[in-house]
């Protein structure tokens, strides 16, 4: 399976901004953030069509999201993932002494995840954060 190296940008998109106000468990919010905008040449290179799933991996983690055509112009080698629980899984917590983690310009690998599912909020929380037992308060 072909893998390509890209630079990951995360950020606000209008639909993410609108849908987060509808509720973070809503289907429309899920659709607006569990996705990745990719340039047409790049998606061809990893053998996918828009709407199929892709795995993004960084040195901090890995996550599967759905590919979408760029809503704004996007150069080859750059992917855009809106702010949210999904991109947080592959963001780094080093802050270079500033308090600010690295949410933009993260070196990432992309590969096809045609047969994998994009996890929902519930599934992703369970996978990433499940507590064995609640801390006694």
């Amino acid at each position: 399976m072909k893998k390509i190296q890209v630079t990951l940008l995360s950020g606000r998109s209008l639909s993410q901004g609108r849908e987060k106000e509808q509720g973070k468990l809503s289907e429309s919010y899920f659709k607006s953030v569990a996705c990745c905008e990719i340039n047409g040449e790049d998606i061809k290179e990893i053998g996918l069509d828009y709407g199929e799933n892709v795995r993004i991996s960084t040195k901090y983690g890995t996550v599967v999201v759905k590919t979408t055509a760029p809503k704004q112009t996007l150069e080859r080698g750059i992917i855009f993932v809106p702010y949210g629980l999904w991109v947080a899984q592959v963001s780094g917590s080093e802050t270079d002494g500033t308090g600010m983690p690295s949410y933009k310009g993260i070196s990432s690998t992309l590969e096809s995840a045609k047969k994998e599912k994009v996890l929902t909020v519930d599934q992703l929380i369970k996978k990433s954060f499940s507590r064995k037992k609640s801390k006694k308060l």
Partner: protein, 433 residues
Amino acid sequence: MSQEVISNVICTVCGCSCDHLQVTIDNDKIVKVKNACAMSSGKMLGYRNERTTQPMMKKGTTLKPTTYERAIDVTAKTIIKSSSPLFYGWSLTSNEAIAIGVDLAEETGGFFDNTTSTCHGPTILGVHEIGESSCTLGEIRHRADLVIYWGSNPVHAHPLHMSRYTVMSKGRFRKSRSDRKLIVVDVRKTDTAKLADVFIQLEPNNDYELMVALRAAVRGDEIEQETVAGVSIDKIEELAEMLINCEFGALFFGLGLTMSAGKSKNIEAALSLVTELNSKTKFVIMPMRGHFNVNGANNVTTWLTGYPYAVDFTQGFPRYNPGETSAVDLLARGECDSALIVASDPISNFPYQAAKHLTSIPLITIDPHITPTTMCSNIILPSAHVGIETTGSTYRMDGVVLETRKLVDPPKGVKTDVEILSALLKRVKSLTR
């Protein structure tokens, strides 16, 4: 029942604090909103979706209903018992609630941080070093003939910024779009870039280099390279000429500068560029603040502690060292042993490693909505929406203070942030003094 129309309502989504919304209320529900952007109407019409309405507390692995009194009592005991509780969030609540939060952190010897540390924290660090030349958005609306958005995409993140305050607004001395020049600097051709008179596309993580080259060009220094950050020197010199020749320039910047490589150094370079420009013309600079009261969180925390965010009370007095005392750093090092989150969703937004620690310690959340953070919490305290279900003052991105209004009642029995935090502070004091 007759409908009531309320005019000049202040929006509580982003730092623009647009105050021209017209809201129609029917039977204590908002049914229509005019003059709002997509994000604002999303909130104004969607505020009743996915609400937390009942205080909840975890028993074993499941959340069970409880009362505010019981939840506040357990919260007070939990944070008192902690050696370094974290108090985080604060950008989607009122100045009054933030002030009580600071008292609470001081009383219990914890860390008090707001969402600035993951948005414009580097901006504040840059301002500490260089200083800033600023003004109100009104002045920019009336006077600015050149506007730059650098690493900022207001069409998506601050949808009415351009029409209310900058290039598309009707000011006293600048009447229309043709009276102003719009320059956009970004790593991709955003929807804002498509509206620009000049669009400069730079390579990711090279903002510092381009900013410094532009400053050199403004100074009239010769640049030896042919390109900087993928931009030709001719283009940089042309841009410098435009900036020098404007009468009143305004540089707005977003997280494209604060989050990319260089972080606070990018901001220092931007502030220095504006300082340089002020020796030739009039220029101001302003960060595009995201959440509606993140600027209030900085201001209130500064009045009360001397520092704008990432305040450490663990030694009994306020200390400040972002990078050490900021939330993501503390959590990534596994340091805090309980956390109270107010009006924020760090589980969705913090990098995985930091969020993971948050879910391994007692986590208490005060929020109007069900979010990934409330879903991971041990205690959930439902709260009313500031600016919709309760009043409260807020700082616009330019530092103008506005008083938001109560439009409708909160869900039955749901308290405000101020009521919950006051009760919590009172309980903490009664247990410790």
